[in-house]
Symmetry: C2
Subunit: 235 residues, 2 copies
DNA sequence: ATAATAGTGTCTATTAGACAATATCCT
DNA sequence: AGGATATTGTCTAATAGACACTATTAT
């Protein structure tokens, strides 16, 4: 049953740039495409937005589509925080026809990232260090990646949730610093960085748990987010 | 000649939130719709993205579509700076069917905004003070407006181009301050604000022109942007 | 002189950066 | 004791906010 329109239409897709921190480096999840176009190339998880249902139902939201595709192509369960990144629609970006892609980024902590497995449309799925990625990506995904990295690099400075979503729920000050360093691609003086950290504790954003974590040196205090402000979006 | 597809597709539109400063207030341009849906309602200039041309040509870019629609519906000439804002695609936002709208915002100085005239699809076009707008807008344009205002309010703090685009090419320190106040919706201590202004002059971002502008009190020094950095997008 | 606006200076509190120092654990 | 890491402190420079002050024009 074909669909007929008076004017030509575009396809709308979502692409999801999923980040985590592994080996103290910012890593991004790529899927190896099983089918053309760009068969064999690495690309972000993503796919077509469901727009069926006629005038009344009209299909799923963009965000739901992104979450669905992310789950289908990675095996991840549960709610994963997504934020809309940018919409890419340059003519010619997809050889099959005009495709408008609404890109999202998502952040998960390393222990969640460990059990990723490739979905049906992919021959493989794995994490790549964003700083040593020299693969030629499918479509315009290289531009999307650059946009996403710039976004979280800029936003982490005034929106600490970026760091918290990349961390497990309990973490040390050093781990918090390492996440910042991995995202920004620079190193910080630990003394000065700790002042910011102490301020967050004093402001009630973080709470010390009294517990200690063993390290190669002195044991480190463990902290967690003081809940109640899980609803964010300050921007 | 109808277009037939195997799967249903969405329409892709652009909407443009055009801002200026008039009467020391942040104002937004709205068009009164001549045709259904939302006939008679006020809405942003915008329209369908041209996606014709088959597999190879595929139509126009999103940004070109936004610029074209803005020109068609306002009579504005020349290049106007646009920045992509967010993509709105909730099912049901348009009663005609699934429509994904890529929203842009644009900024012009007041003297350009004076000669706006309604295009063919509109029965009227005029500026509205964003702080005293209580019209029910078409589609989800109320949400788009709120998103746009929040965006420029946040961005003007670290991206002074927002202010410069709302000003004529030559302006006084007081006018620069008034633009900030109109965008942020607060007043600033002129002494402290002027320190920021002086720093921009010292840093070579602005140049004093030596000329004076008459005011009700002492004449004010005129400044302009030190060019060469017209290519922005620091973000 | 006075109203009105332009423009400067001063004090304090907050914050970032460079760098020194102390504390705690393991071997 | 010595290596490794956690944790705190000190000095300086930059910046923001509150507020007092001077300068220049028109009437």
């Amino acid at each position: 049953m074909p669909y007929t329109y008076k004017y030509p239409k575009a396809d709308v897709t979502v692409d999801i740039v999923l980040f985590t921190i592994l080996d103290n480096a910012l890593q991004v999840l790529l899927i190896q495409r099983r089918d053309p176009p760009f068969k064999g190339c690495w690309a972000f998880p993503g796919g077509f937005v469901n727009v069926t249902g006629g005038r009344t139902k009209q299909g799923e939201t963009l965000e739901k589509a992104a979450l669905r595709e992310l789950r289908e192509e990675t095996g991840l369960k549960g709610n994963i925080y997504l934020e809309q990144l940018y919409t890419f629609g340059r003519p010619g970006r997809d050889p099959r026809g005009r495709v408008i892609s609404v890109a999202y980024y998502a952040l998960i902590s390393a222990h969640l990232g460990a059990n990723i497995k490739a979905g049906d449309d992919a021959s493989d799925a794995r994490w790549w260090d964003v700083n040593s990625l020299d693969e030629k990506l499918a479509f315009d995904h290289d531009v999307i990646l650059e946009t996403a990295v710039l976004r979280i690099r800029g936003k982490i400075d005034y929106f600490p949730q970026i760091a918290f979503r990349l961390l497990p729920s309990v973490f040390t000050a050093a781990e918090f610093q390492q996440v910042h360093e991995a995202v920004k691609g620079v190193t910080f003086d630990s003394s000065n960085f700790r002042k910011r950290f102490r301020r967050m504790v004093a402001d009630g954003v973080l709470v010390g748990l009294g517990l200690k974590k063993k390290t190669a040196g002195a044991p480190a205090q463990l902290y967690s987010l003081t809940h109640h402000d899980t609803h964010d979006e300050t921007y």
